[in-house]
Amino acid sequence: MIRGAVDSEDPDRLYTVTGGRSRVVDENVFDMVTLIVSESEPSPGMQSEHAKILRMCHRPLAVVEIASYLGLPVSVVKILLCDLLDMGKITARHPQVVRADTRLPEPEMLKKVLVALQNL
């Protein structure tokens, strides 16, 4: 994932409606494996999905795990997470070791992954 870059060849845009609102999500805000951490407790009257996410993420949890536990598609969860990020209720830890286009991550990083896997 290259944050901030948009795939200009792709005519698709994610378009989803949640709770009567519509929002074109910048898909580059969250990767499926961006780790989410809550920064505050749910507030009274908060939408229940928002509250659930905050309770779930006392410790880090990936976007895709949140989606699975909520039983919602990943794209819908990304919208909910955008809301929470705007409200300052969560922080997002984005992936660092990524392959972008045909560029692989640094050999040192891959070596770390390799050694960790071998030591499992």
Binding site: P11, R13, V33, L35, L61, A62, E65, V97, L110, K112
Partner: protein
């Protein structure tokens, strides 16, 4: 999609220090053992979720024209391996069917690489996946999941799949944790060697 319980203990949280999610995908034909492999190496019970994606009509690039879009839902399962205090590897078992072609870019964006799981009795099921991975420049290895005594040598399989000589091919039993782990190790070794040779190439042109 299942959300069996909202019990917080079921959410199997990561270490507080986890900050770096990595992705590897396991692709292959129907019933080849993708979920089995995810299950055998994952530290959590495999989870499933789905992504809904829209495909615009040709030439249309306006998100308000919803009616001109086709929506496809793709379900996938995944597992997780905490590699150390910071790095967490997510393994995705993804469908390799042709009808998902327009999802590949986004679904596999940023993945380190892929394992193509093959069943030698149904090799043609993996052609499409291999083709797309090559097209997108995603590095991969091939793992033959053995559902019995292998009928062919790995070199025969390589020839049948028309694999380039530098793509590793290995045998595995997706039900066995050590065997599945060895497949992942093989993939990362391959990525490492690609990465060292490409940085060497960059240095020599600099």
């Amino acid at each position: 999609m299942h959300s069996k319980t909202s019990d917080a203990r079921e959410h199997a949280p990561l270490s507080r220090t986890a900050r770096d999610g990595l992705k590897i995908v396991i692709v292959g034909g129907f019933g080849v053992g993708k979920t089995t492999m995810v299950r055998s190496v994952s530290e959590i019970r495999p989870l499933s979720t789905e992504e809904t994606m829209t495909q615009a009509g040709v030439g249309i690039d306006d998100a308000s024209l919803v009616q001109d879009k086709t929506t496809t839902t793709v379900a996938f399962d995944f597992g997780r391996i905490s590699l150390d205090e910071q790095m967490v590897l997510y393994l995705f078992g993804a469908p390799g069917q042709e009808r998902f072609w327009f999802l590949w870019d986004r679904l596999f964006m940023g993945t380190l690489g892929a394992v193509v799981l093959v069943d030698t009795n149904r090799l043609s099921d993996s052609w499409y996946a291999i083709d797309r991975l090559e097209h997108h420049g995603t590095p991969f290895i091939v793992a033959r999941n053995n559902f019995g005594e292998p009928q062919h040598t790995l070199e025969e399989v390589r020839a049948a799949l028309d694999l380039p000589p530098d793509v590793p091919i290995v045998d595995c039993d997706a039900r066995e944790r050590d065997s599945s782990k060895a497949v992942l190790v093989e993939l990362v070794k391959h990525l490492y060697s690609l990465s060292t040779s490409s940085s060497a190439a960059l240095e020599s042109t600099a």
